[in-house]
Symmetry: C2
Subunit: 338 residues, 2 copies
Amino acid sequence: MVSMKQIAERCGVSVATVSKALNNHNDISVGTRDRIAQIAQEMGYYPNVAARTLKTNRSYNIGVLFSDAAHSGLTHDYFSAVLESFKNEAESHGYDITFINTNDTSMSYLERCRQRCFDGVVIACIDFTKPGAIELMNADIPTVTIDYNSNFCSSVTSDNQSGIAALVEYVIQQGHKRIAYVHGDSASAVTKTRLAGFYRTLADHNITIPNEYVCASRYLDVPLARHFTEVLLKLKIPPTCILYPDDTALIGGSNCIREMGLKIPDDVSIAGFDGLKVSRYLDPKIATYRQNTTQIGSRAATQLISQIENPKTTLIERIVISGSLITGESVTPPKKIR
Amino acid sequence: MVSMKQIAERCGVSVATVSKALNNHNDISVGTRDRIAQIAQEMGYYPNVAARTLKTNRSYNIGVLFSDAAHSGLTHDYFSAVLESFKNEAESHGYDITFINTNDTSMSYLERCRQRCFDGVVIACIDFTKPGAIELMNADIPTVTIDYNSNFCSSVTSDNQSGIAALVEYVIQQGHKRIAYVHGDSASAVTKTRLAGFYRTLADHNITIPNEYVCASRYLDVPLARHFTEVLLKLKIPPTCILYPDDTALIGGSNCIREMGLKIPDDVSIAGFDGLKVSRYLDPKIATYRQNTTQIGSRAATQLISQIENPKTTLIERIVISGSLITGESVTPPKKIR
DNA sequence: ATTGATTAAGTAAACGATTAAGTAAGCATA
DNA sequence: TATGCTTACTTAATCGTTTACTTAATCAAT
């Protein structure tokens, strides 16, 4: 590996001069600067990040804490899409992305971040109540959380409130009153927001539903969604429309409905959440709320980088990214008689 | 951040002693070693990776080159599952995972790796013919490729040959002779292997198919798979069974089939490839070949780490991981008359 | 008592960069 | 001619570790 020392020798100047030339300091003459830059280029020089990090305490490396309850990890449709976008944005600003080790518990997340000298951290995991996650959010390292609000760091959240409201509004407009909600992990802040939005929208329309219509399921849990669907449809007064925590879980519901000999949407209307990937091609096309993962990821990155680079002037922000209602074909007015 | 210097002061020894004590060198008395270890623990010490990397040229960091033709990036079902497994295995060995920047072309992949002092690299991208990818594989940095064989580094590949053979054998056993194959990106080594296996298995059973039965589609391309399906089914003598490059593309095909008023599998049998995630819940359950992403990822990690840690004794290997045939319900014997 | 091993430390250089402080030359001003 | 200000560099310290080499003490064997 070519070092500044070698460039210095070749140019007949000191290492300091090389450093300053390559970093465009203004106490180097233009001629010298250009000559050094040229030779550095020729020799294939690129700075050793470890050395630079050691000296400057800036690694141009962002830590990603990314773990979910279901251990789906990188295969998580929503988070992987957010992360992909985050990564692209960060890389275009010259930052690399490193995962914070979650498989070795001998050190706290914060300690790992300090050890690796991360300039900043993005946290996107479902369980924000883990002590390790809290310690990280409260530490003085620039941090952005995804889909969770902390008082100590910036956050970028999907507009879950409006999302669920839009869905509920939509199915109400289609004439549904017996609306069930199979929702995601109860402990998650996202779930709480969505549930609140769900109840609120129903209340706005003076609709009351029996308690059994709300089922505490889990995100991405196909069998569990299927189970609750069966329970719901076997009620004396079953719902005419069922909302699911996400499009994947919805598949469990729709399979169940079909196997019970019922048709979607003729007998039961259904709607999901996420609007990503495969859900776009399901048959019939499903109603869902498409979260804007691209925006979420890139805004998280720009916010974090801004905090890293302008710590004084960048305020802690709560950024909310809205998605869009996809109506699809899985919701139609309920049959009059049932 | 606590440094060795502070520990040294507190213990009344030199920094060298602290370093040697914490690294279990044997020229430190047991008493001193334990005392230093204890105090280091108390003070919350953890080594600064940048400094260690600078001095030892070992970063305990593995670079991941991960880019595909479709730019699905991390949302790629198969690769994200492989990477998740790779990450878990690597982390359990004390290595972190950093993405190699693919959004900034001012530097080659190899230069980025050297700059970041990666101990090793894993390459999992469809286009291995990129000059940057080749340069990386040929360099002296330990490298493992996924689903591609290079002469200069180890590889871990899914058993595509057996996979496609198993699928074709299966549909032949079910009585199909008019078998079409909508296959993935033609340039990819995976596609070539599968195509060879496809033809070979047909030949083994003395089955010949018209050229139009083989369609050069793309991986994960739902609309394109749909298009080819329509073309195939409108042939004078249409196939009775269609194989797809992956389960996602298969969805395009199955939607098309349904919209043409045909039934799966009564009118047309279909089979996919991958066996991951959503495909497990499709209705009807689809025949597919489930690639063992967990094994692929973890073997890639152990192989790479072995090369890093025992460069002399670890041979370059070509590891093939077999998956399993999932029969599902999407293939039945073809109707006699059509 | 001298020599030679052995043990348990310490010293100091090094990794590759950055940067505060110093310096020498050039030039303008009084 | 002495003074001060720029300009364009160099020197040297530093970041936190590791490690080759040195040193001092202890002890056993002669």
